[in-house]
Point group: C2
Chain length 607, copies 2
């Protein structure tokens, strides 16, 4: 990369790199547990390897200069190399969604007014009163009764600058402010994921999208999973986490606005969806009670908050609408996905899955919706795997094993040298391994198979051999397979619990919707072949993209959709899996890698 | 005083003294115009006297070391003396009012709740939902639908600390937060005058007053009158002026709370009244349009604002209610005074006057109320007079002239040596001078009268002779008399314009209410004898104290009173005197110092 950094020697390299804006992988938040922040020391002296590094790195690796950045402190000038697998910055982010917004009925409305500016001492109405009178005449239905203080502050100046010809911006009976008639009120939809944040700017005068952008959640250095972040927040860092996200939104938004020739003052409303922990941290709500049973949210009601109360750089009068979270581990992003897919209107029974560290599953039956959250863990995002990585350059995203030669064939993002395996690659890999007989239905790797080796007591299968250039190659280990099995077992258990709760069988299922980035990029056939999903015809699986983002966008553009979503939230039944009696057996069965084995296990456990 | 200050020599003495928290008189805001910030240099070197000082100080005075602090820069160590007449800090502030609050119906309500804290994974309602359910059961009429974000942030912790036994605080359908049952919600009423600020803390659970306090408006160093402050605000200092008042309220409130064993977190609502410029500056509203014809307020509607949006240190969820201003120069303090006196219910025609730099007058006739604002200027507060001062120690507050000896007899605040004349003293003095024949009905001083002298070409009358100790004594000059005549003429013109507008005569008047500090301390007989007020029987004049403060207090304690006040505001007719055709002649007539002379002048002008 060729960048130069200054160090006082008091910070570990991970902190130093993060501080310089370099997006380093770190699932555990720098505690030396995840082993994701690997770097290569090319030159110079550092502190000795720690016990944590001994756990994650072989003697060979350490000898070659491989280290964990969070465990290493510089002792003088250093030259380091950061492998692509340790970098987050080039990650592929998925923004689009097939689903379309139907109605355009924004909460924010613009009305052009002609307000008389009095010059005679006889006409004594206040500026505000004259604006409200003009509004009542132009748009009696708006029933504007209140004014935002920030909007009121700007009112006298713009009225006089524009000689009374102004565009009023109102929202649910409140006058938010006045604009010159050249400017249009804009809106911002935000899908705040633990990993990714997606922003969408809309013109609220005609419903057209002006810009969209995805970026990594700036909280990532403080833990990739929700539990780590909740712990970090509880150690007195809650406001820091809030600040990071707000700052990230402000900065990205500011660049987007500049590109589209607008200013922050044009944005009058924002709709934000996210999982419940993200929602709470964003609002500065306490998360302690989210982190322990029964995992209660502080609120599961919709909220409207002034953007200025959160430090957001929008128009100072802007309002943030937050659709309701459903439960501690089923957030408003799930509600948004349900809403965007209009799940209640689809021919049921149908399933909606958003696969991630937590996988939310909704089952719709006769218009009723029941949802649960599966603790699938980070395996599908590359976490916990020896060479897992996010979907960035160098990530293996699909694997075939040649049935004749038995050689693996890889599809790598960016056509780069393989650096690791990302979520969709993991699923594809496992399906290929099972298909080729390298791994059996119980998940055991077959030592006899060519390409399977024993490395330090553990079976591994090489996808890319170690190179002459000291690269370690890419391999999948027996332990990696177990991690993926646990993740897929958790998801399958959630699906099966929902089906059992409703007393229906997988043969009844009319449709499975796969939402989110992972759901978009995986191969549904692979998901079926390893029994991640219950057996349905392949054409019943639909990949719907970022449905949560689409839901946020449609709620920004339509108050009717908001009402619908709030209605769904109040009707939606939540199934708390940790209280579900048969969960552990469903989980054990769900770990098997073929439908036959899953069924055998279920029969054995008398399910 | 014996205080020591450090100076870099780059600040004038006024700035230096203000910076040290010494309340110096300064009407003009340090521009060298008002001549109020006089000090005596006892020892040490300073810059030479400026042209402004030459205008205000005689050669003798300059020789004795008298200077204007705003014009003087230290050139080394100085020893200075600040005469009482230049100090604001010991001023008498008037807080109480005879009027009583009738209804107790606060907007803020406290309800004690028993909220179940779930421990089982089966009970999954959010914290907020359980609180709202308990509220609906306990107080269905409260119809609480919304929650303040700050209140929500604190909710999970206090619910668990108090094991569900909490006191909820609600306001107009919004849950503001939870308290432990030991704490009571408090309210704050504020009368924000240009000169004085009065604070009143109330227990909103029973309507009892816990504490009250008055302090000088910290904006005073930036101009005593409203116009100077508006100019200062327009020079880019608006947020500074806002900050000064907010800080003053925060600091005084904090001391009051400590004394009464409460904390800022207990205060959930504030009601603030003030003249329109104070109201606008407090809210950060622009004041440019207030400073030029037709003197329009940005708003004349009631407002509700979150205290946090203003930087007030109350409970973060607290709301500030601001009753509507009436016009650019008739503020919500006038409305509060009208409301507190229930002017519309009194036998009419009746008048309400709050005398100050601007004097607001209301005339009630058959339940209808018409108000105007008279530009009476600062003379009644001591401004523009050679030896005027505020009502503090050493101020002459009443004068008699012995009919036999012709000697003046003085009543001095604090029984101190006379240092100047305050508002009530000025009126008393003028009545005495006219009564004794020293001044005739046209305001001319009679040179032949013993005690009248010619000083530098101008006639003066000594109330206290210059002393041997280099004190200048206290005298009233011909020019002082003219200043008082202008002030009283402006007020009388306003009263007469209102009477003429309604086509009634002073003989119809059933009652005159005198509100505010000046109205409390003046002698009504003196006010009648110099024709400040139209001739009515003395027993028809009632001095009602700080009616604006009483109005703010009653609005804090009763939403019914707020509604009444808002109704009055919308019905109240405002008479803009600057557009009143006969004003200049009414003013000319009103300057005469006997009723006969006033009437003669009116006849001459054919009024």
């Amino acid at each position: 990369m060729g960048s130069q950094l200054q160090s006082s020697g008091e910070e570990d390299l991970l902190t130093l790199l993060h501080g310089a804006g370099i997006g380093m992988e770190s699932i555990c938040g720098g505690m030396g547990v995840c082993g994701k922040c690997r770097i290569h020391i090319l030159e110079g002296k550092t502190t000795e390897p720690t016990l944590q590094e001994d756990d994650h790195l072989s003697e060979d690796q350490l000898d070659r200069g491989e280290r964990m950045a969070c465990q290493t402190y510089p002792e003088g000038d250093l030259s380091i190399y950061i492998p692509a697998s340790s970098l987050t910055s080039s990650q592929r982010l998925q923004l689009d969604c097939e689903l379309e917004v139907k109605e355009f009925e924004p909460a924010v409305r613009a009305y052009d007014l002609e307000v008389a500016i009095p010059a005679s001492p006889g006409d004594l109405d206040s500026d505000l009163l004259r604006v409200l009178d003009a509004l009542r005449e132009t748009a009696p239905a708006a029933e504007v009764q209140r004014v935002d203080l920030a909007g009121l502050r700007g009112l006298p100046a713009i009225l006089r600058e524009e000689e009374g010809g102004v565009r009023s911006v109102t929202r649910r009976g409140e006058l938010l402010g006045l604009l010159s008639v050249q400017r249009k009120p804009l809106g911002l939809a935000v899908d705040l994921g633990s990993t990714k944040v997606a922003l969408f700017i809309y013109d609220l005068s005609d419903g057209s999208m002006l810009a969209s952008r995805g970026f990594l959640n700036p909280q990532l250095p403080h833990g990739e999973d929700i539990i780590t972040r909740i712990q970090y927040a509880m150690e007195g860092n809650a406001s820091r986490l809030m600040q990071l996200v707000v700052q990230g939104i402000n900065e990205n938004l500011s660049e987007m606005l500049e590109e589209s020739g607008s200013t922050y003052g044009d944005i009058f409303e924002m709709v934000l969806v996210g999982n419940t922990a993200m929602h709470h941290l964003f609002l500065g709500l306490p998360v302690a009670q989210l982190g322990r049973s029964p995992y209660l949210p502080a609120t599961d009601l919709p909220l409207e908050v002034k953007a200025r109360d959160l430090g957001l750089e929008l128009n100072p009068a802007a309002v943030v609408y937050l659709p309701p979270p459903i439960a501690g581990y089923v957030g408003s992003d799930h509600l948004a996905a349900v809403t965007a897919s209009r799940l209640w209107e689809r021919p049921g029974p149908c399933l909606l899955l958003d696969i991630g560290t937590n996988t939310e599953v909704a089952l719709q039956l006769e218009g009723r919706i029941r949802s649960c959250s599966c603790a699938s863990g980070p395996a599908f995002e590359g976490g916990g795997l020896s060479q897992g990585m996010r979907a960035g350059e160098g990530a293996i995203e699909a694997v075939c094993i040649d049935p004749v030669s038995g050689e693996p064939q890889l599809s790598v993002i960016g056509d780069a040298a393989p650096a690791g395996i990302c979520g969709s690659g993991i699923l594809s890999l496992l399906a290929a391994l099972v298909g080729a007989g390298i791994v059996d239905a119980s998940g055991r790797m077959q030592e006899s198979y060519p390409g399977v080796e024993r490395r330090g007591g553990e079976l591994v299968y090489y996808l890319a051999p170690p190179g002459d250039d000291a690269s370690v190659g890419v391999a999948v280990t027996q332990n990696d397979i177990r991690e993926i099995q646990k993740a897929k077992g958790a998801i399958r258990a959630g699906v099966d619990a929902l089906l059992a709760q409703e007393g229906i069988s997988h043969t009844d299922i009319k449709e499975i919707l796969l939402a989110g980035a992972f759901g978009t990029y995986i191969d549904p056939a692979a998901a079926l072949s390893i029994s991640l999903l219950p057996p349905v015809a392949l054409d019943r699986i639909n990949q719907v993209g970022n449905a949560a983002g689409a839901g946020a966008r449609s709620m920004l553009l339509s108050t009717a959709v908001r009402q619908e979503a709030e209605g769904v939230a109040s009707r939606l039944e939540y199934l708390e899996l940790s209280a579900y009696p048969g969960l552990s057996t469903l989980f054990a069965a769900g770990m098997y890698l073929s439908e036959e084995a899953v069924n055998t296990a279920k029969r054995r456990f008398k399910l």
